[in-house]
Amino acid sequence: MAISKTLADELEKRRSVALAGGGEAKTEARHAKGKMTARERLMALFTQGTFQEYGLHAQHATRHFGMADKSIPTDAVVCGTGFIDGRPVAGFSQDFSVVGGSLGEIHAKKICHTLDHAVKAGVPVIGFNDSGGARIQEGVGALSAYGQVFYRNVQLSGVVPQISVIAGPCAGGAAYSPALTDFIIMTRHNAEMFICGPEVIRAVTGQITTMAEIGSAEAHASVAGNIHFIAEDDAHAVAIVHRLLSFLPSNNMMDPPHRIEPDLSVADDPVLDDIVPEDSKVPFDCRKVIERLADGGDYLEVMPSFAANIVIAFGRIGGVVVGFVSNQPTVKAGTLDIDASDKAARFVRFCNVFNIPLVTLVDVPGFLPGVQEERRGIIRHGAKMLFAYASATVPKITVIMRKAYGGAYLAMCSQDLGADRVLAWPTAEIAVMGAEGAVNILYKRDLEQADDRKAKSKELADEYREEFASPYLSAGKLFVSDIIQPRQTRSAIALTLRGLLSKRETRPPKKHGNIPL
């Protein structure tokens, strides 16, 4: 006995209305601007045929201002689950073509359900943000609905990876949901994110600014540090999500997707011998080292244009997924400053919470000196690095390529902060401070009495460097596990990683530490 045609037809009719979203005209207008619809974004995200929708037939709860009889298909957000590379993933996508993608009670309930599902199932969640903001016709109910989303973002944090795509407007309080997630990808065009826009800023403060200056992908990626990746368009954003997920576990109880081969190649890589210049004052691009260390030269740099004096990236070494943290000598001499500390510390904590081993590459002359740095709180920001590394229990391997001075040396995952293995190259200079500075303090009187102060200073500095900055001194005191030729680095890390896959390190139970924020 077949299902009654009337019932079957009604379902199809209801489906087609909901699936049409904002309708054909709006869809075409979006396509003309190079934008996908909300639904198309999820279709591109998930492997074809795997999407299972939640709440297609949702009805909105807006009762005032003549909204009660208005049709709002899906309540302006498409939600559900699907598969990516064979792994289950949850996702939601706000539909700007339906009442501006505004967030009302039911809309938020759908997002909350998606987040609840993600945490129960232990799967990553991807959110496409494209919304005019709160549905003000629903009043404070809409505001509360935001709060419920934020609350869940926090509950999910550290349990399943959360990735946000900003693919349209994301204004005011709405921006705080993505901000609570692990990674934000923003499309270069057609997207803007801000708390107070240029008009409000002007009205309140008199300052004149533009959206490009405060809310564009470019500004967030380079100046504000709010986002991690810029996508050229929606399809590119989806590609970045896929690539990012290829390095991440589905939840905090799983290992990341290692690709361990039974046999481990431990061949030398002579190219690494040629990267560090002979003159220690000549900068080199640390990404060249990462490229040589990562399997197939394949790595994904995160936040490439913010605080470029430190480089963070995902890759694999001998099949094991790792998070790279490296000083970048070509930018600000590789110093650690406030932004670099914030960037690296959060990355270290992400890696730790999702069981991703850390490979730290060191060439750091120190923390950046400056009035602004001190007054803006380099102490509490720099402390985040120490806190993040010291509290990380994942395998931690440190390679001292060249300079490792003072507090910054400690902050770059020194042995004292719990590194499992510290390798130094023969070019390493490990010391409490630079030779010139140290000599000025240690030999103050000798220098004052010297006939040629400059020559004497240089002579003493060379002597100091030889005696006190040598990696053999540190190795002699066991601050360094071994000194290796650069060419041996890849195999040394690969072997160490494989030996640490079973690492267990327990800490005293507590609610959480009190990281200096």
Binding site: G133, L143, A171, G172, V204, T210, K281, K332, P369
Partner: protein, 131 residues
């Protein structure tokens, strides 16, 4: 009323922003109570391309190459009037145990060079301007 001025002291150019507090005819900034930011994000479908002006995001004037960190100028590798390509080294700065080449952010012609070898420079100071 905000004004941006360039002041040159002993050959070193500084870009400064000046606010005129008591200019006649300019109303004082609106009282806070009259223009409190909205407690909730308003649905603003109108905020789209029209507001995205193509204003420069650079902190100083266009073409100005600012010093990334405090240090000493080791060498100046270009002269006024010289045509440079993007990335070409303009000067070398010694700071934090490193000689950092400062490259041209874009192609152009060197309009001014504000420093000489041996000069001590601070972060944000304009070193060279390109036109």
């Amino acid at each position: 009323m905000m004004k941006r001025l360039r002041i040159t002291v002993e050959g070193t150019a500084y870009d400064v922003t000046v606010e005129e507090m008591d200019q006649p005819g300019t109303p004082a900034p609106a009282p806070i109570t009259a223009a409190a930011p909205p407690p909730a994000p308003a649905p603003t479908p109108a905020v789209a391309p029209a507001l995205i002006a193509n204003a420069s995001t650079a902190p100083v004037g266009p073409g100005a190459v600012a010093c990334p960190l405090a240090g000493t100028v080791v060498s100046v590798d270009v002269a006024v009037g010289q045509v440079v390509t993007q990335g070409q080294t303009l000067l070398v700065l010694e700071a934090m145990k490193m000689n950092t080449p400062i490259g041209a952010p874009q192609a152009g012609t060197v309009a001014t060079v504000s420093v000489t070898p041996g000069a001590t420079v601070t972060e944000g100071q304009v070193l060279v301007t390109l036109s």
